[in-house]
């Protein structure tokens, strides 16, 4: 099969662009949330479970209320609840945030599959995209420029967070708590409430990211919905060195890599389809190896993160 209509092979970058935006949105939302959480000195590995719970809750609510946006809100609230659970449990003495994160991941995934059984068949109302390609007559361009508002919200959020970490009291306090609990105490800041709140916000965003999966792309509820986006997003935050704007670029990069396989398939190249689908994971490994160094410490890491604390 040769590419139809006027675009020819230009269809591949276009499809990757469109795919990048679609695929990157959950990465973006989850990684921004995790960025906030990690800046406070906690790591929430449970976001994969939060994401899937969010997807299920969002789909179910959309089905029940008929409003996809109500679904997004419900997904966020469920995510926030799971974040609260993580935050509270980790505030107990001698509780390790990584272990709690893994249990939240398994708990969230399992609970979502259990509660979501009746949601596999019915079709819930979906989120609408904004047609930015209205000026073009090419259906490919039109479909590529169908952009979901959640992606735009994610971009705005990344920019806002970038400045908020440096220019607002809230951002500075979050960074202090995440960087040095001693310093935070000496300044009279409340360490645990800050961390719990940061984890709740992180959970909210991860839940919204889940709603994007079930209510927009791929846009259905089933058990194979997430292929580890929640976990990759956590790695992505490390790769982005805890910088919201870099989270944005990294999400787009991962999204683009994830869109490579489907884009080539659409062009008729089917050999190595699964290999191309593995691109994001290869990319993760490659980037971590390329940017890592045995002789340098991880620059920019919040000092209280159990990942880097010694």
């Amino acid at each position: 099969m040769v590419a139809v209509d006027g675009l020819g092979w230009w269809g591949v970058p276009l499809a990757i662009f469109a795919g990048a935006i679609r695929v990157s949105t959950p990465y973006l939302l989850v990684s921004l949330g995790e960025c906030i959480t990690e800046k406070s000195g906690r790591i929430n590995l449970g976001l994969e479970g939060v994401l899937i719970m969010g997807a299920m809750a969002g789909y179910g609510t959309s089905l029940a209320t008929g409003s996809a946006w109500a679904g997004v809100l419900a997904a966020g609230l469920v995510g926030a609840l799971l974040g609260l659970l993580h935050g509270l449990l980790c505030s107990l003495r001698r509780v390790n945030d990584i272990a709690i994160g893994i249990s939240i991941m398994l708990f969230g995934t399992g609970l979502a599959f259990f509660l979501g059984k009746p949601l596999v068949q019915p079709q819930a109302p979906m989120l609408n995209a904004i047609p930015f390609g209205f000026w073009s007559s090419s259906p490919q361009i039109q479909s590529a420029l169908q952009i979901n508002p959640l992606f735009l919200i994610g971009i705005v959020l990344a920019v806002v967070l970038h400045y908020a970490f440096r220019y607002t009291r809230w951002g500075m306090q979050l960074r202090i708590v995440g960087d040095s609990a001693d310093a935070a105490l000496a300044l009279g800041l409340r360490v645990l409430p800050t961390r719990i709140l940061a984890t709740v916000i992180g959970g909210f965003l991860a839940g919204v990211g889940g709603a994007f999966l079930s209510l927009y792309y791929p846009g259905s509820w089933n058990e194979g919905l997430s292929s580890g986006q929640g976990i990759i997003a956590v790695a992505l935050v490390i790769f982005a060195r805890w910088e919201p704007l870099r989270c944005l670029w990294a999400s787009l990069l991962f999204g683009g890599a994830g869109a490579l396989g489907p884009a080539l398939q659409a062009m008729g190249i089917t050999s190595g389809y699964y290999l191309f689908n593995a691109a994001p994971y290869v990319l993760t490994l490659g980037i971590l190896i390329a940017t890592g160094s045995p002789s340098r410490t991880l620059a920019g890491a919040p000092g209280e993160l159990s990942l880097v604390r010694n």
């Binding site: 440096r166 009291r169 500075m172 306090q173 960074r175 300044l187 000092g303």
Partner: protein, 522 residues
């Protein structure tokens, strides 16, 4: 000083009175009925050995701990200090022994967040202008845009003091503020604080082990011993001998190991020879830029320098904690890269700074830590099996010989006080024949007796024929112990002199980076 926005409602030095303060931790009485009075503008020194209760007292005062008993009067009014915020509201600030800077934030950000009441949105332009104005009034220069974590210990401590001055404190508590500063830096810092006290802008309470600083700056002294008041007096009437006596409770032997006359080192090949050594720091920047030095058996080579000029990296390369990027290190003429095998073969031992972090596994027991050098060798190990009995026997022996105060050899080493961790490491490193000893800031934060003891052990190792490389930020220590002194600046050795010909002024000149000027002039 230019006026900076006020935090405390009242200004100027405050008068402090503590009456009958007590604090227990479980069964341990850390503080027992201690009273203290400092008039406004006083510069009061708090002395005592490690564990005497000094830190507990000041932590109660700034609200980190809540005292079980006792009252605090500020300007003759009773006050309740339940948390550090209350203390800061009263204008009481503290420079801690450990740093409280936020490592990944820049100095400027650290100073601004310390102000406490931050606006919801921070106008960095305005804050920078205010900071520059304030910095212009100081005798220090501190890079505002460097992350605090990348500063050397000396610089960090300066920022801590500057932070308190920036907040216009009325009472400043300094907890061993100069243990990481050079004498000149210490004089700069304390001189500034002392001036403010004299102008009645600040009352100062300082915890220190350095009598030089007490006699130079303080006007009164309170001594604690085992949590109790052990004496007080005004300066300059009180003599150093008298203070030392109050601290230890008995007359102190003047000099535990008098400096043996410099024995001319025979012309033997150097035991440690370093040629053009280069290494990178944690952030990939070069920190050692071609270090050349040699140490012969039976001599102590002292490395002087302002902290942050590569001394730390030099020690890390020699102890195997950091890889080198260029140059050669020879020990007994053989290439040396700090591996365990080479250390054993050449009998290389080390006493790095912060021994709990660099020489111990904090969560292992005292006994395990004491066997880290030889757990895999007879008599501790046979056929690959470690004998617990032999290990415990060795540990008990060390504890006794080196007088390590520990609840037992099974206690985790991190529960010991700094001085006793140091003793435990000394015991492990010096109980076997030593050919090369690498030492860095060995008496950081140690009390009077522990300092004398550590110094005596280093001299004993030297006299027994070990080559000792002693890195220290304390010039007095180097002048007392070293046979030769080399100055390190900007990752290089820039000056070297026999100790008996060393001139403090000249050393200071090179430490401050004076070699560059000199080179140009020549």
């Amino acid at each position: 000083m230019k006026p900076v926005e006020m935090v405390a409602p009242a200004t100027g030095a405050l008068e402090l009175e503590i009456m009958g303060m007590s604090k227990r931790f479980g069964d341990v009485v850390a503080l027992d009925d201690v009273s203290l009075h400092i008039p406004a503008g006083g510069f009061h020194a708090l002395l005592g050995e490690n564990g005497a209760g000094k830190s507990t007292l000041v932590k109660c005062l700034v609200g980190f701990y809540t005292a079980d008993q006792g009252t605090v009067l500020v300007d003759n009014r009773e006050v309740q200090i339940a948390n550090p915020k209350d203390a800061s509201q009263l204008g009481i600030g503290m420079v801690y022994q450990h740093f409280t800077l936020v490592p990944s934030m820049t100095v400027a950000e650290n100073l601004v967040v310390a102000r406490g009441a931050l606006p919801a949105f921070i106008n960095w332009h305005e804050e920078r202008a205010r900071l520059s104005d304030f910095m212009a009034t100081l005798p220090f220069k501190i890079p505002l845009d460097k992350p605090a974590g990348s500063l050397a210990a000396g610089e960090k401590q300066k920022v801590e003091i500057i932070k308190q001055l920036y907040l216009q404190r009325r009472l400043l508590i300094l907890d061993e503020p100069t243990s990481v500063l050079t004498p000149d830096e210490a004089d700069e810092a304390l001189g500034l604080v002392g001036d403010l006290a004299r102008q009645k802008l600040l009352t100062v309470l300082i915890i220190t082990h350095k009598f030089r600083e007490v006699t130079a700056y303080a006007d009164a002294v309170t001594v604690l011993r085992r949590g109790r008041f052990a004496g007080s007096g005004a300066l300059p009437e009180l003599t150093i001998e008298h203070m030392a006596e109050m601290m230890v409770g008995s007359p102190v032997a003047q000099d535990v190991a008098p400096r043996t006359q410099h024995t001319p080192v025979a012309d033997v090949p150097p035991r440690l020879l370093i040629d053009q050594l280069c290494a990178q720091g944690d952030h990939g920047l070069p920190v050692l830029r071609g270090v050349n030095l040699s140490v012969r058996p039976g001599e102590i080579l002292g490395i002087a320098g302002v902290s942050g000029n590569g001394q730390k990296a030099l020690v890390e390369v020699l102890t195997g904690q950091r890889g080198k990027t260029g140059g050669t290190v020879l020990v007994n003429g053989l290439p040396y890269s700090g591996r365990r095998k080479e250390q054993t073969l050449n009998k290389v031992y080390s006493l790095p700074e912060e021994p709990l972090r660099n020489a111990c596994v904090a969560s292992l027991s005292v006994a395990h830590n004491m066997s880290l050098r030889n757990y895999d060798k007879p008599p501790l190990a046979r056929w690959g099996w470690i004998s617990q009995r032999a290990m415990r026997k060795q540990a008990n022996g060390y504890v006794e010989t080196f007088r390590v105060k520990t609840p037992g050899i099974d206690a985790r080493i991190q529960t010991l006080s700094g001085g006793n961790v140091q003793r435990a490491v000394l015991a492990r490193e010096l109980s076997h024949p030593v050919e090369l000893l690498i030492v860095a800031n060995p008496v950081f934060g140690l009390d009077f007796n522990a300092v004398a003891e550590t110094h005596a052990r280093l001299l004993a190792a030297r006299n027994a024929g070990a080559a000792v490389l002693l890195v220290s930020e304390d010039l007095d220590e180097l002048l007392e112990l070293a046979d030769r002194i080399a100055v390190m600046s900007d990752g290089r050795i820039v000056f070297e002199t026999p100790a008996e010909k060393a001139d403090v002024r000249e050393l200071g000149h090179y430490m401050a980076g004076g070699h560059e000027e000199t080179e140009v002039m020549q």
